[in-house]
């Protein structure tokens, strides 16, 4: 039995060991208390390895090409960011670069490293730091929003000129599915049980928070 405080309403409760694929919810506020993904940690590992390869293709290959009156131009994800920068919008360029390139890259790299390093517990302390990093990056990694944005832009422009989807667009589509699958199968709670504690003691259930500092 694991005792937790609900993240949604702070109610103290016991969570029994969950079967694979199950989710425990708070009876008071119905927030999620714990989840246990199906399958082993091998699954997110395989997905993260695939995502790393697809990420490189999505970011180097041409997203789409435009041809208007005999002139042709193509763009990549980085190219979009650079165009914002070139037109004098460095803040917007930084935001787009972070959400479309940096956050997904760091998220995939950290998940991959964490899973590899925790294959043989106890994993060293720095693995915990990387798990923190994945939790921080997850909301900002939004390839699915970017893909929809690219498609809307494509439809808008298709009215004015001929647009040809490139290999980068298909790779981005695959990346969207892989990142969603990683998020569904990667279980930080499982990793935390394999990581060496920050205070170096790895005591069992309750610890004196004040003593840690």
């Amino acid at each position: 039995m694991l005792v937790v405080g609900c993240p949604g309403c702070d109610l103290l409760q016991q969570v029994p060991p969950l079967p694979p694929g199950a989710t425990a919810r708070c009876p008071r506020c119905s927030d999620v208390l714990a989840t246990r993904p199906r399958g082993s940690t091998q699954r997110p590992l395989a997905l993260a390895a695939a995502a790393a390869i697809v990420f490189v293709i999505a970011n180097t290959a041409t997203l789409m090409e435009l041809s208007a009156s005999g002139r042709e131009a193509g763009t990549t994800i980085i190219g979009g960011t650079y165009e914002l920068w070139r037109q004098g919008y460095p803040f917007s360029a930084a935001v787009v670069a972070f959400c479309s390139v940096v956050a997904p890259a760091v998220y995939i790299a950290f998940v991959l490293t964490v899973l590899l390093a925790s294959l043989r517990p106890p994993a060293p302390r720095w693995v915990g730091e990387l798990v923190l990093g994945t939790a921080f990056m997850r909301p900002w990694a939004m390839p699915e929003v970017m893909l929809l944005g690219i498609l809307v832009a494509l439809v808008k422009i298709a009215d004015l000129a001929t647009v040809i989807p490139g290999p980068g667009l298909y790779a981005t589509g695959a990346l969207v599915m892989l990142v969603a699958a990683i998020a569904a199968t990667f279980d930080p709670a499982e990793v935390w049980t394999r990581v060496a504690w920050a205070d170096g003691k790895q005591s069992s259930r309750f610890s004196l928070g004040a003593a840690a500092q």
Partner: protein, 222 residues
């Protein structure tokens, strides 16, 4: 009814914000009383100054919301003609070119979600600050769900930022046709970023706290 519920705060415990480990802290209002022994982040029974921080971010986002919607975000240029588009203008031009489903998606993501987020966060903050007079647990449960929904869908507001970025990057066939990013763009990006930070700084546990426990440190006895 709520007064009898065993919460972590009342038991002198706090769950770590990142890894969820339940830790003992000194005093129910404890802030800055040590770090999680497992992952090392600072422990707090409630997010420090959650109400104040969320208000500040909501107000900043509301101020950016006005220029974000009034200024053009993308201008399409052809020789002798230029067509500046605001966010709403982009929705209308999508609608008139025949793809009403895409127009609807952009309308929801760029106009309805940011506005709804600001209104919903403002409502939650007011209710929390007034000590939730209408505090039956059904209402509180609905408010928790409302908050989780805001948190979940907020990122989709980024949609128009990507539409403008890739629209501008692709349409660079000067002198035939070229696109220019408009001054509304950074304001719109700021609205999305600020509302995402606002949702992250709001502590949903405040919805369930009895009055006066509503915020910590800043006004512990307020």
């Amino acid at each position: 009814m709520n007064a009898a519920m065993p919460t972590a705060a009342r038991a002198g415990l706090a769950s770590c914000r990142v890894c969820g480990l339940l830790c003992r802290v000194a005093g129910a209002q404890a802030v800055g009383r040590g770090h999680c022994p497992r992952c090392g982040v600072p422990l707090a029974s409630r997010f420090p100054y959650s109400v104040q921080r969320t208000w500040a971010l909501v107000i900043a986002a509301a101020m950016c919301y006005v220029p974000a919607n009034l200024l053009p975000v993308l201008t399409m240029n052809e020789p002798g003609a230029s067509d500046p588009n605001t966010i709403m203008g982009g929705v209308i031009s999508l609608y008139t070119t025949g793809s009403w489903h895409l127009a609807l998606i952009v309308l929801v993501a760029s106009i309805i979600i940011p506005l709804g987020k600001l209104l919903a966060l403002g409502y939650l903050l007011v209710v929390v600050q007034r000590g939730a007079a209408m505090g039956n647990s059904g209402g509180r449960r609905d408010r928790t769900r409302l908050f989780r929904t805001i948190e979940f869908i907020g990122r989709w507001s980024m949609l128009d930022v990507f539409v403008v970025t890739f629209g501008a990057a692709l349409v660079q066939a000067e002198p035939v046709m070229w696109a220019q990013v408009g001054p509304g763009m950074p304001y719109f990006g700021a609205v999305v970023i600020l509302t995402m930070f606002a949702a992250m700084s709001f502590d949903p546990r405040l919805i369930w706290d009895p009055r006066a426990q509503g915020d910590n440190a800043g006004r512990a006895h307020g």
